[in-house]
C-alpha cells in the first residue's frame, strides 16, 4: 500500500523518479498517481522526451587530438623511460621526477635522455669500481683530507695531474685518493664524504678537447654525474641523492 499524493507532490518528485533516484515506496505512490492523472502523466512524458533529445542531439565534445597528444606526452607513463630488468645487466632510471628535473635545471645539469653506447658501458664500470672499493675497504690508498698531500701522491702513480680540492666548507669532505682502473686505463679516484655517504670521483685525461656539460643518471641505485672539462673526464658516483650529488658535481665542474 502506498500513500496517495497530489499533483504538486507528484511534480516535485518527477525528476528524481525519472533519474532513478527515488526510493521504492515514493516511486510506487508516484506511479499510482501517474496512472490516474493525465496532466502529470503528460508532464512526465515531456520530461522523458526532453532527456532523450538531450542525450541524442546535444553535442558530445571529444577532446581534440592535439589536446590528447599534448596531455599524453606530458602525463602518460608510456613516455617515461622504461626500466630494464636486472637480468639485462643494468637498470637505468633517468630523472623523470618533475622536482628532480627542476633541480637538474637549476643546477645546470642536463637530464640524460639518450646514452651514447660507450657511456653506458662506462657507467657500469664506474659503479663496479665504486662498489668494489667500498666492499674491500680500499676506498683510499692515501688517507688525507689535505688536498696538498693527496695531490702530490698521484704524481708518481698516474701520468697526469688530477685537480684535488677539499670541499669541507660546502659539506663535502675529502677523505683521500687511490688509483683505480676504468676504460682500460689507470685513473685517479678521489673519495669524499657527505655525512654517511661516500662519493667517488674518477678522473682521467681525454685525447680530445671536447667539453660535455654535467649529465646525470642512476644505475643499480647509485647516482652518477659525468662531465668533461679541461681535457679531463669526470665521473662522480654515490648513493647520495641526486640533488646533493648534483650540487657537488657543480662545485667540481666550476672549480678553477
Amino acid at each position: 500500500m502506498s500513500a496517495e499524493i497530489n499533483c504538486s507532490g507528484a511534480r516535485a518528485q518527477l525528476d528524481a523518479y525519472h533519474d532513478g533516484e527515488l526510493e521504492l515506496a515514493p516511486s510506487l505512490a508516484l506511479e499510482e498517481h501517474l496512472a490516474s492523472c493525465p496532466a502529470c502523466s503528460q508532464r512526465y512524458a515531456a520530461l522523458r522526451l526532453q532527456s532523450s533529445r538531450i542525450r541524442i542531439e546535444a553535442p558530445r565534445y571529444a577532446a581534440p587530438q592535439s589536446l590528447r597528444r599534448s596531455i599524453e606526452r606530458r602525463f602518460s607513463d608510456k613516455n617515461l623511460p622504461q626500466e630494464k630488468t636486472p637480468a639485462e645487466g643494468r637498470t637505468w632510471s633517468i630523472w623523470s621526477l618533475p622536482a628532480a628535473a627542476a633541480a637538474a635545471l637549476l643546477l645546470g645539469i642536463a637530464v640524460w635522455q639518450q646514452l651514447p653506447a660507450g657511456d653506458e658501458t662506462l657507467a657500469g664500470e664506474v659503479v663496479a669500481a665504486h662498489t668494489r672499493a667500498m666492499m674491500n675497504s680500499r676506498l683510499v690508498e692515501v688517507a688525507s683530507s689535505d688536498q696538498h698531500s693527496v695531490k702530490p701522491w698521484f704524481n708518481t702513480r698516474v701520468d697526469f695531474a688530477p685537480p684535488v680540492k677539499d670541499y669541507a666548507a660546502q659539506g663535502f669532505e675529502l677523505t683521500g685518493g687511490r688509483v683505480d682502473y676504468l676504460d682500460n686505463r689507470r685513473v685517479a679516484a678521489l673519495a669524499y664524504k657527505q655525512r654517511e655517504h661516500t662519493i667517488d670521483v674518477f678522473i682521467w685525461p681525454l685525447e680530445s678537447a671536447r667539453e660535455r656539460a654535467p649529465a646525470t643518471l642512476t644505475q643499480r641505485g647509485f647516482n652518477i654525474v659525468r662531465f668533461d672539462r679541461s681535457r679531463m673526464a669526470y665521473w662522480v658516483v654515490s648513493d647520495l641523492n641526486t640533488d646533493d650529488l648534483g650540487r657537488f658535481a657543480r662545485l667540481l665542474h666550476e672549480q678553477k
Binding site: D19, E21, A46, L49, S51, R53, P59, A62, P64, L67
Partner: protein, 173 residues
C-alpha cells in the same frame, strides 16, 4: 629502481586518462569555448596529478570532473571579462519547433536549437544538467562535483529542465 613517480603516473594514467573526453566535454560546456576548454583541461590534469595520492575511491570520473569543474570556476574567475560577454541574447532566439515528423534539415536545426538552449542556461543550472544528462552521474556524485547538497542538485536540475523546456518549446502545455 622502481621510482614512486612511475607508480604515481601509472596510477594517474589508469584513473584519469580514460576520462579525458568527459573532462573536455564538461570544460567545453562550462566555458562554451574550445580554446578555453583546452586550457582548463591542461590545468585540471596538472592539478589531478598533484592530488592523485589523495584519491582512494573507485569513481575516477567523478573525481576528475570535480577537479575540472573547480579549475573551470577559478579559470572563469580569473578571466571574468571574457566570460561576461552577453551570450544569452543571441542564443535565446531559439527555434520554436514542436517535435513531429522532421526532415533532416529540421532535425539539424532542432539539435542546434537545443544545443544553444543548453549553452544559454545559467552556469549553476548548466553544470548540473550536463553532469546528469550527458555524464550520467548520480545525484550524489553531482553533489560532490558541484559542491552543493543533494537537495540543491535536485532543485537546480528541475529548474534547468523547466527552463530548457520553455526555451525550446518542448514543454507540453
Amino acid at each position: 629502481m622502481n621510482s614512486p613517480d612511475h607508480a604515481r603516473r601509472r596510477r594517474f594514467e589508469q584513473v584519469a586518462m580514460p576520462h579525458l573526453d568527459a573532462a573536455y566535454g564538461l570544460a567545453r560546456w562550462l566555458t562554451r569555448n574550445d580554446h578555453d576548454a583546452e586550457d582548463v583541461v591542461q590545468e585540471a590534469f596538472i592539478r589531478a596529478l598533484r592530488f592523485i595520492d589523495g584519491f582512494h575511491g573507485t569513481e575516477g570520473r567523478a573525481w576528475l570532473l570535480a577537479i575540472v569543474r573547480n579549475t573551470c570556476f577559478s579559470w572563469m574567475e580569473k578571466n571574468r571579462s571574457a566570460q561576461m560577454q552577453p551570450f544569452d541574447e543571441e542564443t535565446m532566439e531559439v527555434q520554436t519547433h514542436l517535435p513531429g515528423p522532421e526532415s533532416s534539415a529540421e532535425r539539424a536545426a532542432n539539435a542546434r536549437a537545443l544545443h544553444q538552449a543548453i549553452a544559454a542556461l545559467p552556469l549553476g543550472l548548466r553544470e548540473v544538467l550536463v553532469l546528469r544528462e550527458l555524464e550520467e552521474l548520480s545525484y550524489k556524485e553531482i553533489a560532490r562535483v558541484a559542491e552543493v547538497p543533494i537537495g540543491t542538485v535536485m532543485s537546480r536540475l528541475s529548474r534547468a529542465r523547466a527552463l530548457l523546456a520553455t526555451s525550446t518549446e518542448l514543454k507540453t502545455k
